[in-house]
């Protein structure tokens, strides 16, 4: 079933009886060539690219809940490639380019909207840092513009420019950045993978690995044993729990990050604005709700909910920047579990167990990575070599002293 304008028209005229489920619900086979653990954005994108680009056969995605029940269904949907370090920026720009073609490629509306992201500048030091970052972005083929105060004012005249502590002095703008519909991305990749023959198996939790002589043979699941020549794990916030079953300890802590949506308002924020100094960022959904967030709560958590102090802090940051929203009501608050790595950057690598591969450490930024995370993981699973944009994402980089620490915070996950 292909989606098209013609199809929508035809269904509208014939009572919408022709729409079919977007993917099958197959029973697990006894064995596969590749089993992907985790049906979030990373896992589904991996399966899709493995089947499509690398012509992999007999692939399954095992998801313990329903598709999109993890972070992919909980995030604030910002996509961007405005990183600084050479280990990161080419990867995220590769991802950005994949976003730009994804909807045509998998024939599904993921509502990718390149509405631009603006990082606010308040000091000379910050302007220098952002100019350097902008140059790094340009070098990697991304777009970047440095705006002065008047440039920011032309875009968002209603921001509080003269906050006593953080007056707005300018901003770093990436016009190609923006947002996408998180569920649309899940469904698009799931449907795309299913059409290419991938078995997507929900309500199937991996409870152990069968490993003999240092080689993985398959996975134990709540729906029985499933054999696999290769197993790729992409379980985000559950990374430590799952890899522990293969006897590994990871350079990762799990932390909770909260997000917020206000009642529907008239269009006011047409891009994404980040106010890093105030621990606040915001965009507006197509339904009118302000979608915003701030920092992680800062302590280890698997609770998928946060605490009130961060809600207060984020609200304060929002009001400092946008006093006009003072009367808007908050509709919903929720949390997701972040796989915070020790340097704030992800891992896409083999593991000491033969045939077992790991993808994780996405921190609070793995949504934008969804296309490239899957593409590069598929590349690794298919060829046993890292994709050229993901060569720095090694599991042993900490031990070897090759950390990719964008913020320069050291091995302190709650500061990344």
């Amino acid at each position: 079933m292909r989606f098209s304008g013609f199809r929508v028209l035809k269904e509208a005229l014939t009572g919408h009886h022709g729409w079919k489920p977007l993917w099958r619900n197959p029973e697990p086979q006894p064995a596969y060539d590749v089993v992907i653990v985790g049906g979030g954005g990373g896992g589904l994108s991996t399966a899709y690219h493995l089947a499509k680009v690398f012509q992999g056969k007999r692939i399954a995605v095992l998801e313990k809940g329903w598709l999109g029940s993890g972070n992919i269904g909980r995030n604030t949907t910002i996509i961007r490639s405005n990183y600084l370090l050479p280990g990161n920026e080419p990867f995220y720009e590769f991802s950005m380019k994949l976003w730009e073609n994804m909807e045509q490629e998998f024939n599904f509306n993921a509502m990718v909207s390149q509405r631009g992201i603006l990082n606010l500048i308040h000091t000379d030091g910050q302007r220098d840092a952002y100019r350097r970052r902008g140059n790094a972005m340009l070098l990697a083929g991304a777009d970047a513009e440095l705006l002065d105060r008047e440039g920011v004012r032309a875009m968002y005249p209603w921001l509080n420019f003269d906050n006593a502590r953080f007056p707005i002095k300018g901003g770093l703008l990436q016009r190609r950045a923006g947002t996408a519909r998180h569920d649309g991305v899940v469904w698009g990749y799931a449907r795309g993978a299913d059409l290419l023959g991938v078995d997507i198996i929900q309500n199937c939790e991996v409870t152990g690995f069968r490993i003999e002589n240092g080689k993985v043979l398959g996975v134990e699941t709540t729906r029985g044993y499933i054999g696999a020549k290769k197993v790729g794990v992409a379980v985000a916030g559950s990374s430590s729990r799952v890899m522990q079953m293969a006897g590994m300890r990871l350079p990762i802590e799990s932390h909770v990050l909260q997000a917020f949506v206000s009642e529907g308002l008239k269009p006011v924020v047409d891009g994404v604005i980040t106010f890093g100094a105030g621990h606040f960022y915001v965009s507006q959904s197509d339904k009118g709700g302000l979608v915003f967030g701030g920092d992680i709560d800062g302590y280890n958590s698997y609770a998928q909910r946060g605490n009130l102090p961060v809600i207060e802090e984020v609200a304060e940051g929002g009001l400092a920047l946008m006093p006009a929203i003072g009367r808007a009501r908050l509709l919903r608050v929720w949390g997701g579990i972040m796989d915070m790595s020790m340097d704030g950057s992800p891992i896409i690598d083999r593991t000491p167990v033969d045939g077992l591969y790991f993808n994780g450490g996405w921190c609070y930024g793995g949504f934008k990575a969804t296309p490239a995370s899957g593409y590069c993981f598929a590349h690794l699973l298919a060829t046993d070599r890292p994709h050229e944009t993901a060569t720095a994402y090694r599991l042993d980089r900490f031990e070897r002293g090759y950390v990719i620490d964008e913020k320069g915070m050291g091995a302190q996950p709650n500061l990344h």
Binding site: S240, P251, Y299, N307, M342, E399, N414
Partner: protein, 96 residues
């Protein structure tokens, strides 16, 4: 979250900053055999359990003591708190 400070009674967790797993108290001996590996594990690798976790909190906006707090990471329930100094001394074999 309220942290039951052993000296000051229940205090709002907001008064504290969080460091991480209490195993950070056991700094490896840099001169020992295999120190490189021990430091890699100490600095970078974590158990990161879903459930009971012993962790270091610093009472920054209070009496500036370090605590070892026992907390459930699945529910955020706080099960107890001790002075990190006492924990560290006990680990070193009760020396003063």
């Amino acid at each position: 979250m309220l942290i039951p400070h052993p000296l000051l009674g229940p205090r709002d967790a907001q008064e504290f900053t969080y460091l991480g797993d209490a195993s950070l108290l056991n700094r490896p001996d840099g001169m020992a055999e295999g120190a490189l590996d021990a430091f890699n594990r100490h600095v970078y690798l974590r158990d990161n359990p879903a459930g009971v976790h012993r962790e270091l909190w610093f009472h920054e906006q209070g009496d500036r003591s370090w605590l070892v707090v026992t907390r459930n990471t699945l529910t955020h329930e706080i099960l107890g708190a001790e002075l990190a100094r006492d924990v560290a001394l006990a680990q070193k074999g009760g020396a003063k």
